[in-house]
Symmetry: C2
Subunit: 461 residues, 2 copies
């Protein structure tokens, strides 16, 4: 036992020296949030699951018939570096809130959550916006981080929340990286997730060595060898803006958030005079008769694009139909209806009849319209009442659709199989459908109210 003690102190000393060398001669000024003995400084919110102190750790115990329970700090924190250790029983979802708040003592608690996810999905270290926007950074955006978490063992977590930049680490591996400005400060809270199955009652999640640095945290933040905060994909949650990282990577706003610059009607040389409006950084298609391009009509980019990553945030209304098209040739269809191109379908699958038409779901949300049904499994996420991110990646003939970071469609055009598929679809008689080297990008007016924002593109070689 004595040897162990010496080794442990030696290890701590080495870690301390390493920290000195890495961060600063002084080192960060850590404050312990948990005294190792009792729950002084913490309060329980939202649910009725129990927390107890055991072997120097806070242990939360899963309980039936209660919503999520949180053990929150009395204090609020804005800019900080937070570190803690955690260990969780199999299949018990949990998380740590930060910059969070609650609407009444009985909840709901809302705000950023550092996800703890021992299930097969393995999104530990992802960022979920509890009781608000949902997933901000599912690990579909950074799949290699899914291996950082160790099931059934103690894991270390680190969160840097400095200004709009929030980055998480699990066992030293960067997991999530967002830019957001919704909540600049709030409490920190340990979650015991609600359970639906009696067999999970009594399962535990434990936290220890919870410490925070709020004194000049920007001085001690992580900086990688190449001068970045983390070498993982960044998700910018602030609509219609570009971060420095996005700009340096070649991203451009395809819509400025306020004017019609860069866009025109698909069949007219100017922007439609009606049927569309711009309010509070949102580009809205108006509700009309539900017809295809019968009101304001589709709008397209002035420019054509060849190889690119396109991101568009969209929010639907009940029963809505719309879409994002690419490789659009506005010269093809001079008659009624929408301009011709490949379409990332936007649809209220539950309430619009088109979801049940077509073949085996190939007209549902995220599908390549009338051609390839969008994949659905555990990782598929859609927010019916909030904005969602459609992403389309085109690299020559290879194309992928993503919905909220999850790949729903992939295909290769300009192949014999592609032609055979198109020949079965409603595009069969448009010449060489989908095989253009470059084309316009289109937002569809299908006579239903749909909101767009945060339209950005990165052209790739």
């Amino acid at each position: 036992m004595r040897h162990k003690f010496i080794y442990r102190n030696l290890a701590l000393a080495i870690a301390f020296l390493f920290t000195l060398a890495t961060y600063s001669q002084d080192g960060p000024k850590w404050v312990e949030l948990f005294n190792g003995k009792n729950l002084n400084g913490w309060k329980k919110l939202n649910g009725t699951a129990d927390f107890k102190v055991q072997e120097g750790a806070i242990v939360g115990i899963a309980k039936l018939n209660t919503p999520n329970t949180f053990l929150a700090t009395e204090k609020k924190y804005g800019n900080f570096i937070l570190e803690f250790e955690f260990k969780v029983d199999d299949f018990l979802n949990s998380g740590v809130q930060f910059r969070s708040d609650f609407k009444s003592p009985k909840g709901p608690v809302y705000g950023y959550q550092f996800e703890i996810d021992p299930a097969q999905r393995a999104w530990t270290g992802g960022i979920y916006d509890e009781a608000r926007r949902g997933w901000l950074y599912p690990l579909t955006y950074n799949p290699q981080a899914k291996t950082a978490f160790r099931n059934g063992a103690w894991n270390t977590a680190r969160i840097e929340a400095i200004g709009n930049t929030i980055i998480t680490w699990v066992n030293g591996s960067p997991c999530s990286y967002i830019e957001d400005d919704l909540s600049p400060e709030g409490f920190i809270a340990l979650q015991v997730h609600s359970i639906g199955d009696e067999k999970d009652a009594g399962k535990t999640v434990a936290f220890r060595n919870i410490r925070i640095c709020t004194t000049e945290p920007e001085k001690y933040r992580t900086v990688t060898e190449n001068g970045k905060f983390a070498d993982i994909p960044e998700i910018n949650c602030i609509p219609n803006t570009l971060t420095a990282k996005e700009t340096s990577e070649g991203w451009q706003l395809l819509w400025d958030g306020k004017s019609t610059t860069g866009w025109r009607g698909a069949k007219i040389p100017t922007f439609p005079t009606g049927g569309w409006s711009i309010e509070d950084g949102i580009l809205k298609v108006h509700k009309s008769d539900g017809g295809e391009s019968t009101n304001g009509g589709d709008i397209i980019t002035d420019r054509k694009y060849r190889n690119f990553i396109l991101k568009v945030d969209f929010k639907i209304t009940t029963g809505a139909n719309s879409g994002i098209k690419y490789f659009v040739n506005p010269e093809l269809n001079k008659g009624a209806g929408s301009a011709i191109g490949c379409e990332f379908q936007i649809l209220d699958d539950d309430n619009h009849p088109d979801a049940k038409l077509g073949v085996k779901g190939n007209r549902t949300l995220g599908s390549l319209y009338d051609l390839i049904p969008s994949r659905r499994d555990g990782d598929f996420t859609f927010r019916k009442n909030d904005f969602n991110t459609a992403m389309i990646i085109v690299k020559d003939n290879k194309v992928e659709h993503y919905l909220n970071g999850y790949k729903v469609v992939e295909y290769e055009r300009n192949t014999q199989m592609w032609k055979a598929l198109v020949d079965y679809s409603k595009y069969a008689n448009w010449p060489d459908f989908g095989n253009l080297a470059e084309g316009h990008i289109l937002l569809q007016d299908h006579g239903d109210e749909v909101w767009f924002r945060n339209i950005k593109i990165k052209e790739i070689k």
Copy 2:
């Protein structure tokens, strides 16, 4: 002029020394077939185009309103090495017959032809069986040989016809390689092709330095560094046999040419007692009512196959329908109709109604039935009244169909696009259609008379 003469003799001397070193201390005993002055030893057959002697070459002159004209040797030749030079005007097809004969002085001349093809297809050096079986070795079997021929210049040709092995070279590059036993000997003849357009009248093809070695030609045949006769794909035209080269490459007969060994009914444990017969090395499906598996029923291989190259020769009758299926699971369809698998369609496109059904030709000959139409362009060849070779290459998820050496279909299964395509087809409701790791190979009884032979397979890793 004098210098030229010296250089030419020097070049000949060097060539002679090279020949000595390469082949034998004695060198092949060449006999000149053309004396450089007149057409002694040659006779004109079949057509009425003119041949004249000009600057030491035999020049054939294209003429309207005559069939192919041939200038043939009086003598016949069996085993030989033949060399000659040739030069041809743009777009004037020509060739050199060997081991050939004619049925009457007015023709038709028939037999092996060394192809001369200055058109874009560029099959010079291929082997065509004139007025008999058609293409034995189109350069689709060896596409890199298409660059050997030089348009508008003198080219050198070499033909080695020794036993059943016939190999051609153009300007030193091996072009065709067949194994055949149909005509062991015959005359050699220079072709002036018939023309259909007045603008081609007067175009010429010229031959010179025509020499043959019939004395121990096997002693002087080409042998490559690795001990083979040529490092190009060999086509074995002798049905139901394997050459030494095929055996060494791993080819196996999938049908022995005489028994039902290795095959059984798709829905019964034994070979069908009726509906099929074996005669003269040909496996015949009998004519019945044109229905799907209503007579003898489909037959399948006992074994399953995973990755392979499959070759099947087939000959249709008027209006016939049949097919070769692979990845067949005979357990799937226990009801009426054919067993379920991917099908290389066999059809008389001109006379069977199914050719016009389906979508945009996806039920025509060579198609992946009901899924992908077979490609048709200048290189597509089909012999309605003779045997054709279907070839199917499976490498994991990548599959290709060939008809007589020409790729008509290619696709990738176990992909999202494949599933979307299948979902549109008549296979939509068979579980996981076409995605088996391995399956049986099937010959279809569709109630029409179709002949099969020369069924061979090479399993690949």
